[in-house]
Each structure stands twice: as C-alpha cells, then as structure tokens.
C-alpha cells in the first residue's frame, strides 16, 4: 500500500506544473474565448514537446521517455489545474497509447517518433450521436474491399480533428469492430466544426465511403478490446484532468473568501462559507483517490472497469458541485469574465459530460451488479 509518488513521478509533475504555471494565464486563455481562435496554444505545445512531456509514456526506442500511464496522468492533472489549451488527452492517451500497444511495428515506427517529436498531431473519435460507448460503434460502419476497409457514418465531438493528421476510430463490421488510424485528408472525409461549452476545438466527422488502406488498419474485427482499453484510459485521464481543474477552482475560492470582507470580516469566517468549502475539499479528496486508484490499476495492466466507472461518477458529481459552490462563494466575481474562475467552470462541465456522465456510469455499474459483477472481494 503506497499513496505517495516516487521521486521521478514528482519530478515529472513539477516540470509540467512549472511550464504550465509560467505559460498559462487568463490573458493568454482569453484569446480563445468564443472561438476567436482554435483553442490550441502551439507555442506552449512546442515547449511541452521539447521537454519530452507528451511522449512520457512512449517507449524510449520511439523517442519517448519510457515512463507509464501514471506519469502521464500526473501531467494531465497539471494540464487540468491550468486548463491549458493543449490536446493532451485526445493525443497522448486516446491516440498514442493504443497505437503503441496494439498497432503493427510498421505503423509504430512511422507514427510514434514523429508524434513524440511534435511533427504529427493525432486524436481519436470516440463518440457518436446518442452513443457515448466507444466500445460499441453503431453509426460508423466498415465494409471490406480487397485488403482495405471502406468506412461510412458520422462520429461526433472529435477533439482537435481539424488540427490532427491522424484520427483513431472504431467502426462496426460484419464480424465485430474495426479500429483504424484515419487520414483526415482522405477523399470522403468531411469535418464540420462544433462549438462546445469549453471552447475546445471539436468537429463532427462525416465519413462517406472513405477508403482506409491496409497499412492504416490496427484491427479488422477484434477492435472492441482495443476500444475498451483506450476508453478506460481516456476516461481515467478525464477524471484526473477534472481533479486538477476542481482543485484549482477550490483553492481560488478559498483565497478569495479569505480576502473578501463583508460586515468588516473576511467572508471565509462565516461557517456557512467555510463549510461549503470543506465539502468541496472532501469531494475533491474522493475524486483524487478514486481517479488515482483507477490510474494505478491501469498502469499495472490490472482489470479496472469498476474502478474507472466509479472514478467517472465522482468526476461528474465533484465537478458539478465544486463548480457551483466556488461560483456561489465568489458572488458576482465568479461570473465576471475578467476573473479566471468562469473558464474552470466550463471545463468542469465539459469533463462531467464527456465519455458518459455520472448517471450513465451509474447505470452501467448497476447493470454489472445485476449480472453479479463488481461486488466487493
């Protein structure tokens, strides 16, 4: 039993925090508000790439740092704390990790070194309209044509699709689920930009008989397990991103209420305020423990389906409660766009609803309990 982090893990986390806290501030984030520009800070991204952070979980022979998912999660927590405009989850987790784990040696050698060097941006399309289960694609189908696959259908809410050179996605086949790395320049690919609550660049991805050559196919029919693997890691990553964002919002509110005076005293001295913040503290501790439990199990390649579902339930509930509590104790300041809190609240909502909200995961967990799974050992 060990709840602490190794020295190396702390160093990775501190390096990320240092770069992000120096480079991200309200002023730099403001340029992306209301989609004035795609929310992707390429200068910051280049700095992170130069520090080796996006490749932290990529093997050294492909140019990465050779650490694991735990180290990557610690970076993601810091990205959440700063709500930095970088594609860390969609790129490093949803795309790089499954390619490293499941792709052919040829694809790995082509893709990973360039991706780690920041020359190639990748993402993954995990959602379909009214279908938030990445493991079970319904809207996008694939048929066999020679040794290629031809894909049709629509994915939605694809992060950084317009910026990426490769999009990992799953399609239903006659015999199972195929997983491919799609070149968005292929004929028949259409990207329709979406505007979402957090200002993250997202697209609807429409596929009209798009031919995917054999070399870009990761799995022809056995993709469900790949999607399960990557969906759990992506979900756990969203949870730690939520943790970083919620923790920052809470500390902002604690500082604000300690300074803000009404009736000649800091409003933090009112128990009603202090107790609301204490509830945030407890909620965030719960999110921290459940998220890092999930990360730790995934990092050791242990089955973590239950633990990931539980972490996402906490991510949804904690995000919602912390968002509204911190805005409330800030009064009008919390909704003032010149004060940094409001963007955090947008992200707490974004993460809450991405890859299944609390209710969805409760329903899935409840289903599994009904089937006699997920009991305590």
């Amino acid at each position: 039993m060990e709840f602490g982090f190794t020295e190396e893990q702390q160093e990775v986390k501190e390096l990320a925090r240092k770069i992000l806290s120096e480079q991200v501030n309200a002023e730099r984030l403001a340029v992306y508000d209301e989609y004035q520009a795609p929310r992707f800070d390429e200068v910051l991204w280049r700095q992170l790439v130069n520090a080796g952070l996006p490749g932290v979980a990529v093997e050294q022979r492909y140019g990465g740092m050779g650490f694991g998912f735990m180290e990557l999660a610690l970076i993601i927590e810091e990205v959440g704390r700063s709500i930095a405009p970088v594609p860390v989850i969609s790129y490093c987790v949803s795309a790089l990790l499954p390619i490293q784990r499941f792709a052919s040696e040829t694809m790995k050698e082509t893709v990973l070194p360039a991706a780690v060097a920041g020359e190639l941006l990748l993402t993954a399309a995990l959602s379909e309209h009214l279908n938030e289960d990445p493991v079970d694609p319904l809207a996008v189908t694939a048929r066999v044509e020679g040794d290629a696959l031809v894909l049709s259908g629509t994915k939605t809410a694809v992060p950084f699709a317009a910026q990426a050179q490769g999009i990992l996605l799953a399609a239903r086949t006659d015999a199972g689920v195929a997983v491919v790395l799609l070149d968005p320049k292929s004929p028949g690919v259409h990207l329709n930009e979406l505007q979402v609550t957090s200002f993250e660049p997202q697209c609807e991805l429409v596929l009209e008989a798009v031919r995917v050559p054999a070399g870009d196919i990761i799995s022809r029919n056995d993709g469900a397990r790949i999607m399960q693997w990557l969906a759990e890691r992506t979900t756990a990553s969203i949870c730690v991103h939520q943790l970083g964002a919620a923790d920052c919002a809470m500390r902002m509110a604690a500082s604000y209420t300690s300074e803000r005076k009404q009736f000649d005293v800091p409003i933090a001295t009112f128990q009603a305020v202090g107790h609301r913040m204490a509830d945030c503290y407890v909620d965030i501790e719960c999110l921290r423990l459940t998220s890092f439990q999930a990360v730790s199990l995934l990092d050791s390649d242990v089955n973590a389906t239950t633990e990931v579902q539980i972490a996402k339930i906490w991510a949804g509930d904690t995000g919602h409660r912390v968002s509204y509590a911190t805005q409330h104790v800030h009064g009008g300041t919390g909704i003032d766009r010149d004060y940094p809190l409001w963007r955090y609240c947008l992200w707490l909502r974004q993460n809450e609803m991405t890859l299944g909200c609390s209710a969805v995961h409760l329903a899935r967990l409840g289903n599994r309990l009904a089937a006699g799974e997920a009991l305590f050992t």
Binding site: F3, M70, G274, H275, M277, L289, L365, G366, F376
Partner: protein
C-alpha cells in the same frame, strides 16, 4: 502509488479470518445480537480473555508495552476482520485509552492496570461530556479537589457508554478552576467504577442501545489515579480523540452488507415477475452505494497508510470523519430502499431476513455518528482552516 496489500498483510488477514471464524460460536453471535452489538455479556467477556491469551489485544501497541507492534495498516486489517466477524471489540479500551495509559500512565497504572487490559480483564469507559459540556468540552465542571494525599471527585457525566459493565472510567475533571484558559485547568483521572460514590443511570437511545449518565459523589482516589501531568489533561483528550476518530470508520462490514443486499436483490422474485434487481432504480441505488463504499475504502486505506508513514494531515482525518459518518447514513438509506417495506422489519420479527434486520437497525442508529466523536460542524471548521488555510471566526 499502489493500492494493494502485501503478501504478509494478506496472510495476516487469512489468519485472523480463520481465528475469528472459530471464536464466533452461534451462542456468542446470539448474545452479541441480544446486546445490540455492544458486548458485555458473559460469553463476550470470556471471548475477550481468550483473545488476550492468544495475543490479539493491543496488536498495534509497541512491543515494549506488551503489544505486537503492528503498523496502522496491519491494525487496519485486524480491525476490519474483527468487524467482519461481528465481535463487539472494546476498541475504546484497547486501541484508544489503553495506549494513552501505557504511554502516559504512572508506574502503578503501568504495572497494575495496563497488563489487565492486554489480558482482556479490564475495561475502561470514557467520561468527557457533561450536561453543559458537549462540543465545547473544555467548559466541563466535574472537579477533583486535593485533600491531603488524595483527590476528591464530584460531578456528573453524560453519554458514558459501556460504563455499566466497565471497570474504570477515564475521567476528565477540572483541577484548576482559576486557569486563565479553561482547557488549561483540566486533568485526567482513572476512577474505579466499583467505588461506592460511583453510580450510573441508563439512557436509552432511539437505536435501542443503552448509554449512561454517570455520577461521581465524593469519590476519593489516591494520586496514583491521576494520568499524565496535573492540569495537562487536554493534550491527552485530544490525543485520545484522534485515535478514536480513526476507529469510527470501517468499510469492511458495510462492504459485506452491500454484497449481501446485492445477492438478495438478485434472488428475490417480484410478484409480477423478474427479480428485485431488474428494476432500474434498484440498480441505480446499488451502483451509488458501490461508488460511495469504494471511496470509503480508499479513505481509510489512505489514513492507515498516512499514519504508518507519519504523514497524517489534520484536514484529511476530519474529512474522513465527515465523509464516513454522512455516507454511512446515505448508504443505509439507499440499501434500505431496496428492501422497501421489508426494510422496516426489526431483527426480532420472524419474517425479517438477517441482513434486512441489520439494515433496519443500522439506519435507525446511524444518526449518532455525525455528532459523536466530534460534531461534523467542528470537523468542517478544521477542514477549511487546516486544509484550505481559511480564517476562522473567534469563539
């Protein structure tokens, strides 16, 4: 980060599970049920002595004090197994007051009383609260006045649980009524419940559990009965409460209860067809409980780990108390809903299932934990001040 027990800890768990499996005879189980999970009966006492003979009391005490020197993590395994077995272990005596006596007691206490605790022969009740001193404990009025070499104690205590079968009371008294700050004039005494000046009247609580009002009428004790330094009792009280808080939250029994409810809901058939668990709202309730209990498990694991490493933060200890106490109540409610009307059947009712009867009692009795062991409002004050550096209003 690695949230798994070591092989050695798992071996300890298996050893304990087998041990308690043998100890808990059907007769003892029945006696404990009758005594509302509090113990005190003859079979219970004999089992405690047996545990003392087998070296299972004071597992976390240093070896120099006659204990086994287990780390908090190993103690956690011990507590979990004992709770799972359903034995009402006298934690307040063995894990909370006992170690305070072993550490701060004088020679007489260490020689005469501490070994008896380790043998299961001596039980101690806690006398802190008074009719006028609850959350503001330092305003207590029970007094000890010096008379020659002795002390004469007078006053009344409230909520002196277990006192009716304990041998001593760990008593907080005022020894310096003129101290500039009221918590500076308090000392700790060990008062024999056998003294003619000691008496108690039962207080029956909504859960059916008996607690007591205790009375101290000119009780004369020697200076040997003073624990720690004169007027320095407050430190011992807070030290004891920190130990007590940790033993309040146990996820072992509730996870076991959860499993039983799930199994029941899978097998119980609805008259209209299908089983209870086929209903979406039942699945929702159970999933919610599963998530709440998982987090409770992580909180107590982390606390035990932090204590083993010596890095327990005050705010986290309070957060554990707030979370554990309030979520227990929520969990009992959600699980009770699954039983519906049957969840109102008391254990004595022949129609009640074993776990249904337990749930009925647990839900009814759980209200004590949000204010017992330090009211949750005080815990939230500690969290916002120690965890978030927020200023606090003066009291």
């Amino acid at each position: 980060m690695n949230i798994q027990f070591t092989e050695k800890q798992l071996a300890l768990r298996d050893e304990l599970r087998a041990y308690f499996g043998q100890l808990m005879t059907p007769e003892l189980v029945a006696e404990c049920e009758r005594d509302m999970g509090e113990g005190g009966g003859p079979l219970w006492r004999e089992a405690l002595r047996q545990m003392g003979r087998d070296g299972w009391i004071g597992v976390g005490w240093p070896e120099a004090w006659g204990g086994r020197g287990m780390t908090p993590l190993e103690q956690f395994v011990f507590v979990e197994e004992i709770m799972r077995a359903g034995y009402p272990f006298p934690f307040l005596t063995t894990e909370s007051v006992g170690p305070m006596l072993a550490e701060h007691g004088n020679d007489w206490i260490k020689r005469e009383l501490v070994p008896k605790i380790l043998k299961g022969d001596l039980l101690v009740a806690i006398g802190y609260s008074e009719p006028g001193a609850g959350t503001d404990l330092a305003s207590l009025k029970t007094s000890a006045v010096r008379d020659g070499d002795d002390w004469v104690i007078n006053g009344q205590k409230m909520w002196t649980s277990l006192a009716h079968f304990c041998d001593y009371t760990w008593l907080a008294v005022r020894t310096d009524p003129d101290a500039p700050k009221k918590h500076k004039g308090i000392s700790m005494f060990l008062v024999p419940n056998s003294d003619p000046g000691w008496s108690c009247t039962p207080v029956h609580t909504l859960g059916g559990v008996r607690t007591n009002a205790t009375y101290y009428d000119n009780i004369r004790v020697s200076n040997d009965h003073l624990v720690g330094e004169l007027h320095c009792g407050w430190k011992l009280i807070t030290g004891q409460l920190n130990r007590e808080r940790l033993s309040l939250i146990n996820f072992g029994p509730v996870s076991q209860l959860f499993n039983q409810v799930v199994r029941w809901a899978r097998s119980a058939q609805l008259p209209a067809g299908g089983s209870v668990i086929d209903q979406p709202w039942v699945q929702q309730n159970l999933a919610r409980c599963r998530a709440l209990i998982e987090c409770m498990k992580l909180i107590v694991y982390k606390q035990s780990w932090a204590m083993t490493e010596g890095v327990l933060e005050m705010a986290d200890a309070s957060a554990a108390k707030v979370y554990g106490s309030e979520k227990f109540i929520e969990i009992f409610r959600l699980l009770g809903e699954v039983y519906g009307q049957a969840g109102l059947l008391r254990a004595g009712s022949p129609q009640a299932t074993a776990e249904g009867g337990r749930l009925e009692r647990l839900y009814r009795t759980a209200s004590i934990i949000t204010f017992g062991g330090g009211a949750n409002e005080i815990q939230r004050d500690i969290i916002s001040a120690a965890g978030l550096w927020m200023p606090r209003a003066s009291r």
